[in-house]
Symmetry: C2
């Protein structure tokens, strides 16, 4: 399917190439294709949202439960974003979605317009008539920034979705019917299972307003989404069903029929239907506002952000917001596909983290208390293991104000943490502890080193140090004592050691900047800890037990059970981004290192190992280089320190061409909250932050023909790639403001001062 699609695309592109390579500057959003990444492993969602919006109103094509009767279904992983392009039916439209994650939650407040008999069960994809879901066709589907439209074939209803930051705005065009409904399935969710719904409250304030909340225990342990719903037309009737077992006190039932127009509902599991008479082509609109704090805040959010029923205006204003984000980048590319990939990457790098705060500034903190964000916008959903690499550096470059707020949000998280730790992978006032390292440290340090975060740097350093000394977390205690995480203590001991060492180096950088010599010395020493797990006898990083003995049975190709997470040692052994030269030395010098890199990109990875590689499609791999997972994102740039920087250029172009396409299956792995997209954006401009925490970018091979980027400080970064073409992927010369760059590096400060980065491209590698 993918391959067919791609061939079709290639043919189309060949036809278009001469005319469509230049961006239409007044309408850049036309290049954004939210459907990219919605097939297979991309895990993006196609629905409507504004940049970093708290609401992601998007179709869910299935709701496969995490487990049935305690047994893991295995299929839930597909539905991290709720939507899979190849699915034939739409279950409904829910209001919260992660973009590109490899685990999930959310899918809150699922709405489905239907007509005919009230059905409160979603039914199955192969028998959509068995429930409220509907078949649909991609021919009748449109996905644009902040706009999603689809025809629901079974119900003959046209669904249109748009949003503001905190409000999902639905418009449904019904046929003539005296049985038109809006189904409100408050039991639905992503990564759902029986018992996930901890509690649900619903209050029908009048015949067109409903408030409530959904409290869940899932990836986020204690998560509550408060909502307020209004319909443009009063419902003539409404009803509810409870799906709770074992209800003991039945006082409410004795006095009231809670199923029929009863406005005061509370149970673990509730589904509702709102009923209408509709004329042919009558539009019924619905607004659903969310809040992390309270129902009244949700109502306030709604009243503030969508004071009226002007769907078109809401749509336009969200699209204008997108256009403004996109307009910061004026690029010329080789063809339209590249424009689509570029602007869709900008789009995907503008989705997460999301605003987690009401219009009045209130938010729920990690401590489960209500806080008021003073002087910053509070964000949530930090997929830090992914995003510290290129996404946050990207914000430091193009959207530093937002990144400063993100750091403020992380510091608030720290202040609220009873464990006194910066976030690992946090969302919705919870820490979910996913993945390895303590990469908040990298984000915080990089933001301070680059002048992005202007808050209390000493407090930030203290938070980083405290986090890095959380002895009970993932072998940190042993790491501090032995210089590495022992294999017998932790299942991902090598990834952890390597990532801690990098994070520690970040801390040392900040400590130096602040003149904290003792901290700098302590963490500079820790930054060398990667050395402790390098086994020169095999030339790889290798798990070692507490007694100092390397693991005997060790498979250098396997990703699972070898002491790593989402990467084998072939990839992970290169994870010393802060000391690449020292790594090269340890690995036997330039020549050996170069041939190691060559092998990585060219060797054959047997299928059995691929099966163990998470989160990516077969296309997400080049040789044994895994682009679909993050640990190697800096690797192609490492040729720069060998005698063959042209190989960086070649590999970067190869990865771009191989891994980013504009079809639904266009992403070879999870977009990971913008990290994959940020890699693309940096790389297509010709440079990349190999080690966030130092203000240096390493050069690669630009994909743009030219780019003009409006920086927030009013300066402009121009990138020009002379003689750019598909074949001219090599850089014969690079210049900054006319001065040749000899070391394949450029400083952040230089870029921020504005100027022109010029590449002279050639088809001939400079060997």
């Amino acid at each position: 399917m993918i391959r067919n699609y791609r061939n079709l695309r290639k043919l189309l592109l060949l036809a278009m190439m001469p005319t469509l390579a230049f961006a239409q500057q007044n309408n850049l959003k036309q290049y954004v294709k939210p459907l990219i990444g919605t097939a297979k492993m991309g895990h993006t969602f196609p629905g409507a949202t504004v940049p970093f919006g708290a609401v992601q109103l998007s179709p869910d094509t299935d709701t496969i439960p995490y487990a049935v009767n305690g047994k893991y279904t295995g299929d839930v992983y597909k539905y991290c974003a709720g939507y899979q392009y190849d699915d034939p039916t739409i279950v409904g439209f829910s209001h919260t979605h992660f973009s590109g994650t490899g685990h999930s939650d959310l899918g809150d407040i699922l709405v489905m317009p239907t007509q005919g008999k009230v059905q409160l069960n979603p039914g199955t994809a192969d028998q959509p008539q068995s429930g409220y879901r509907s078949p649909y066709s991609h021919a009748n589907e449109t996905a644009e920034p902040n706009y999603y439209k689809v025809k629901l074939d079974k119900h003959q209803i046209l669904a249109e979705l748009t949003t503001t930051k905190r409000v999902g705005f639905h418009r449904y065009t019904f046929p003539k019917s005296d049985q038109s409904h809006l189904i409100l399935d408050l039991t639905a969710g992503i990564y759902n299972y029986e018992g996930k719904n901890v509690w649900t409250v619903v209050r029908a304030l009048n015949d067109s307003t409903i408030t409530g909340y959904r409290q869940t225990n899932g990836w986020a342990r204690t998560r509550t989404v408060y909502f307020a719903i209004r319909t443009s037309k009063p419902f003539k009737n409404y009803g509810a069903k409870y799906y709770d077992k074992n209800v003991q006190y039945k006082g409410f039932w004795r006095k009231f029929n809670q199923e029929d127009n009863f406005p005061d509902l509370a149970a673990h599991n509730i589904k509702m239907h709102l009923d209408f008479d509709t004329e042919d082509q009558e539009q019924v609109m619905m607004k659903v506002a969310l809040s992390p704090v309270s129902m009244k805040n949700a109502l306030e959010n709604m009243d503030y952000e969508t004071p009226d029923w002007n769907f078109e205006q809401t749509l336009k204003s969200g699209q204008d917001e997108w256009e403004k984000e996109l307009q910061r980048f004026q690029v010329d590319m080789l063809n339209k596909e590249d424009l689509v990939n570029f602007y869709t990457s900008v789009y995907h790098a503008n989705l997460m983290p999301t605003v987690y705060m009401d219009v009045n500034g209130e938010y729920k903190g990690l401590d489960q208390e209500v806080h008021k964000a003073e002087g910053f916008t509070n964000y949530t959903s930090f997929s830090l293991w992914d995003t510290f690499r290129a996404f946050h550096p990207w914000l430091n470059l193009v959207d530093p104000k937002r990144n400063a707020d993100i750091v403020s949000s992380m510091m608030a998280h720290y202040d609220q943490s009873v464990l006194k730790m910066l976030p690992i992978w946090s969302h919705y006032a919870n820490e979910n502890w996913c993945m390895s390292g303590y990469h908040s440290v990298s984000v915080v340090v990089d933001a301070i080193m680059k002048g992005t975060y202007e808050g209390d740097a000493e407090a930030a350093l203290a938070a980083c140090v405290q986090t890095a000394k959380a002895r009970r977390y993932e072998g940190i205690g042993e790491y501090m004592d032995l210089g590495y995480v022992p294999d017998d203590v932790n299942g991902t001991s090598v990834s952890n050691t390597l990532e801690y060492a990098y994070d520690d180096w970040c801390i040392a950088q900040l400590a130096k900047k602040l003149g904290k010599e003792d901290i700098a010395a302590e963490f500079s020493k820790r930054a060398e800890n990667w050395r402790n797990l390098y086994d020169p006898s095999i030339g790889f990083m290798r798990p070692k037990d507490s007694k100092g003995v390397f693991r005997a049975n060790f498979d250098v190709l396997d990703t699972h059970g070898q002491g790593f997470i989402e990467g084998n040692t072939w990839n992970y052994s290169l994870y010393v981004p802060h000391q690449p030269e020292q790594l090269m030395e340890v690995m036997g010098g330039q020549q050996k290192f170069e041939s190691y890199l060559d092998s990585l990109f060219t060797m054959h990875l047997p299928d059995k190992y691929f099966a163990n590689t998470e989160d990516i499609t077969r296309e997400g791999i080049i040789g044994n280089y895994v682009h679909g997972n993050e640990p190697s994102h800096h690797v192609a740039y490492l040729y720069n320190q060998t005698k063959s920087p042209w190989k960086t250029q070649e590999r970067i172009r190869q990865i771009i061409r191989n891994q980013y396409h504009n079809g639904a299956a266009g992403l070879g792995g999870n977009d990971d909250c913008g990290q994959m997209s940020a890699w693309y954006l940096f790389s297509s401009l010709g440079f990349y932050p190999v080690a966030p925490g130092e203000n240096v970018y390493w050069l690669g091979s630009p994909l743009v023909k030219s780019a003009s980027i409006h920086l927030q400080n009013g300066r402009k970064l121009e990138v020009i790639a002379k003689n750019q073409s598909e074949k001219n992927m090599y850089v014969s010369k690079a210049l900054w403001n006319g001065k040749e760059i000899k070391d394949f590096k450029i400083n952040h400060e230089d870029i921020m001062a504005g100027g022109t980065l010029e590449f002279v491209m050639t088809a001939k590698p400079k060997k």
Copy 2:
């Protein structure tokens, strides 16, 4: 057991009588025996609390679950107050208890000091060594206002409890041990069952501070109690266990051992242990503050109310508060038992409703939102079917400011109600819908008629009217259409009809006062609806179906299944408190009415009917008159309108002597949140509010020899019973400020102006 106890008491009293009949005015709290009512059906709690305090820190002697595997255990009812005097073991000390209810909830945050091996299971009463519970002996138990002390035999620990409004203050004297513990059972509760705990959060902020919350679904559907805990001594170690089944996402467990000193806990069911080394006789103190709103508010409550570790001072200040409440009543009685009964009744009438608001004024509303109480203290736990009769009228007399706040709290409830109804039986931001009628109306109206509530009377009237027109509630719609609740629509159709009619009369009184003639007319008409269910053919109120046909098979003695709640038609037929003369007329005139009353008090009620009479012991019945339940509380006063008011006097004295004793089993029925006690207080002063809503009291037979009551307006009510004695129970003459009362009535306004109510007592009834 009761009888033995009572005989012992009688002997003791005979010995004491000559000397101890006069209250020691500087120490009235000595007469309060919180243990009264803790055996059998009284359902009072013996623990520590301040007047109307939010915390009731009291021992629980068992935690029998409501149901096991979905099967009702039947025994839970005993434990409405957590403590049963005859039980041999104490399970622990929890922080919230209703006083005298017939259903329950609460029992939050159970603490048990132990030593030896950590046991997190309570164990069973017959095998206390199987868990953390301990045997104890009444000889080692002391219960005073705001002080409870008991020796825990198994653990050799002396437990002492005191409180402030929002803080439970524990002091435990341990033996020497390196295994001393405080067990924190957050799964424990009253009326508990599997699944009642909806969610629990615990955060150990440091080695002596813990915050958290317990969210339950029980009698209150959506209830959350937030808490903050501090210990006087750091715990050397702590731990937790989760008792959840079917936990799907285990991220926390993968990264942390949550059982061992882990500060960040959340699950459905959590138990904890805090561990200490203790020297011999070392006292470890603990404070537990509650909040309806947040953990931080709980901490703020603690810091504000108990800024230090002075147990003695906290105890004294709460006891001083009690003394102040008691000092408003200076009474002389015939003997010390009467002093005990009187002041214990004052005590029991000062427990509920309870403050439901933090020191910063915040509280959780019925709408599940956080509100700030502006200009009033917010109260919760309104057992209105009981308390409208004498308890709220009692407050109107002796503590009107508090009753005004209670009415404000009820109005806030109304404003927050999506059903637009005043409370029926509400607690902790929930409506539990227990019992019949809409008696908030009576409380609101009485408070306005008596000048107690000075808020917006028109808004209050509107709330009453709206509540009385809630068509879907308990047959109100049919009641409005037909003039009675039909038997085929509602299982307690007669009680409802009679009670609605009385409540409607209340509304009419207020409407008249406010000049709302149309409302007055409408509700005056509704106030006559009791007539529609009187069946002259049998001389009783009787269920009637929607077609107007009286029920064929009807048992006038049975309480169950006959259209009534907590009363048979013998008792309920007299429930027309607002139109007693009209009732008398309908029932055949004075003579017939009097003989009906005579029969009620003297007839034999076969045992099979007693078994169907809820909430009372066998002693709670005189003939067929049931004092342990409320519907007949006004009945003895009805002789006043016959030619034999002396029978009122005789019966009142009989009821007092029969129903109120100073042993643990001293109450023949549930105290019902102070209603039984308020009946005693009024009656022992010689008058009673037969129909709250009119500012009239009916005279009975005083029990006091004299009483001096300090009214809140600075005036004084003196009651003098000349020639008072056990035999002189009849009133030969009654005078108000020297003027003889001819009609056995006295006005509220007259009393509030201050003065002397003089009774001349005699042994000879004035026939």
